[in-house]
Amino acid sequence: MSMPAAAAQGQATGASEAHGVPKRRLPMVHKLAYKNLFHDKLSLLVTLIGIVFSVVLVAVQLSMYEGTERLVTSVIERAPADLWVVPLETKSFDDPFPLIGREKQALQSIPGVSKVNEMVVSFATWKRKSGGNTTVSIVGLDDLPHGRLPWDIEVGSAQDILRPSSIAIDAVYFKELGLKASNSDELLKPSEAINYKAEINGFQVTVTAVTHGIRSFTTVPYIFTSIANARALTDTAPEQANFIRVQVAEGSDLAAIKKQIEFRLPDRNVLTHEEFRTRNIDRWMFETGAGVGIIAGTLLGIIVGIVIVAQTLYSSTKDHLNEFATLRALGASAGYINKVILIQAVLSAVIGYVVGMALAILIVWIVKVTETELPMAMTPTLAGYLFALTVGMCVLASVGAIFKVIRIDPAAVFSR
């Protein structure tokens, strides 16, 4: 057998080991994609800048969306409830109206209901010592001190706000509430705020606990107190509340209990925890238009990413058209060639995502440590969605390049 024949038919004997023959097991289709991508470093840099820009923009927008969603639902997410009884047409927790009254007694008599908690939530006027007023949102709780509200108490305890005229305020609103040292513009430290006397709706109150980081989406400070204090401060009748949280016994039929409550308490809305959560998000994110801006920014980021990646991939494909035509002439299937382009797209996406996410996480961290009012949050789930979105964006961007390659005439290999 001649030498070329032996070469063509030869078995892999390992005889070539001593000659530096690569032993890597990376499929050639991946290698070709990788080498095509990294061959033109300037072009790759442009692609990556485009993807990174897009990822950062989308990540920042989505983390703002996530942060805003958390802000909107921060109180209700921490308030244990299977069902919420709310006044008819209530749009959100931060937009409260009074219930008709005497709901608690009716609810306690329904089989399967294990716990009923009233909440008084109402706007009130806080008088600053330095002069002027500001609006606050009183949140009266009947499950103190063992409930989950308020949280992140920095100074004092939930027990402390059970006392008459005692309240908990949040340190982030000290400036808004005018908690300054006498004869100075300097804000009080949280520990210095204990026993601070203030005036709400003309009643004197005492700060007995300070929380850290409980913000409201509306920027109206929450004032946590006992339900008795809240009723006194807001002139709410003893049998009246704004929201009622219902917990059902384990193994109970939630839907059946919900129906029973709706029957027993007409002219109120009975919502599952998820329904109430969604209603709050819809109210602030969509009805007010706050979320529309975020979504528009996200779309803009995606479009920018797609355009830049598509342009670069198309240009790269055009640069390598002769090679693709050769591959086609050698018998490569359309799928094989498309795979090369798709791998290039996915590789670009992965690199762009890693760099973009690192920058986005840095931005979110800076926002957090500087305690700006910008609500931002990055979660593993969101990061996962963003990865899928980035890969999807790059794959979508490769469609133009794939169409170009599909139309290659392999006969072009003879005309050069």
């Binding site: 001649s2 070329p4 024949a5 063509a8 690569p22 050769t326 050069r416």
Partner: protein, 248 residues
């Protein structure tokens, strides 16, 4: 030794364009390529050589006629079916080498093996053997940009051989090479053709290549106008019309 043709082309007609621009590029070509032979196809520019090569290589479909490669008819096959035939049975050597510039010599050969379904594990060794066989065992990691024209064409031959296709089609393989490199490439193709499981067709303008041919086919104006065969046993060229070169 089996002499059944590895490539059979019967009544190949190719019409290019339509209406007033219609051109009959091939006008009924019959051609067989038998194993163990290097067939040289010569003809002037515009004679239909490249069109015929494209059809024999399953890159173009004939307007009329039948083509069989290694016993497989190409009739009715779509682009993917033709690609499958090319992948399994045909090796190409191009005038401009057509190596992938971003890959090394061995990677170019491994790419062809990958297309032909060789396993990941055997690709490096098979590619190395193919390159060693064409005298490039020491240049396996060289990039095409760092190779001479002769070396590039030898890599292209190694790539064509990898996976052991039945038919090797070479399009002007010496056109871009100097005399010495051209001789080396033709000697290599001649050696390749000695394998009785393979047929080689070389399309060329280069009369220096005649001495390497077992058979000469002349094409003019879309028709084969002459065929001649070297009498192998005599060791010299005796057929009429095989002029222009000497035996080797």
């Amino acid at each position: 030794m089996s002499t059944a043709p590895l490539l059979e082309a019967n009544g190949i007609i190719k019409v290019l364009g339509s209406g007033a621009a219609e051109v009959r590029a091939l006008k009924g070509i019959n051609l067989d390529l038998v194993p163990g032979e290097l067939t040289l196809m010569m003809g002037p520019s515009g004679s239909g050589k490249t069109t015929l090569l494209s059809i024999l290589g399953c890159i173009l479909s004939p307007t009329e006629g039948h083509l069989k490669i290694a016993g497989h008819s190409t009739e009715g096959l779509g682009p993917e079916g033709l690609a499958d035939i090319r992948r399994q049975h045909i090796g190409f050597v191009f005038q401009a080498y057509n190596l992938v510039p971003t890959l090394t010599a061995i990677e170019n050969v491994m790419l062809a093996l990958d297309l032909r379904g060789a396993s990941l594990g055997e690709q490096p060794d098979l590619a190395y053997k193919a390159l060693k066989a064409v005298g490039l065992g020491h240049r396996i990691h060289a990039a095409p940009s760092k190779m001479s024209g002769g070396e590039k064409q030898r890599v292209a031959i190694a790539r064509a051989l990898a996976g052991s296709p039945s038919v090797i089609l070479a399009d002007e393989p010496t056109a871009a090479l100097d005399s010495e490199n051209g001789k080396q490439v033709m000697a290599l193709l001649s050696e390749v053709a000695k394998d009785n499981s393979r047929a080689v067709l070389v399309v060329t303008h280069d009369h220096r290549t005649l001495s390497y041919a077992d058979r000469l086919v002349r094409i003019e104006d879309g028709k084969i106008v002459g065929r001649s065969r070297r009498r192998l046993k005599s060791g010299h060229t005796a057929d009429e019309g095989f002029g222009g070169g000497s035996s080797h």
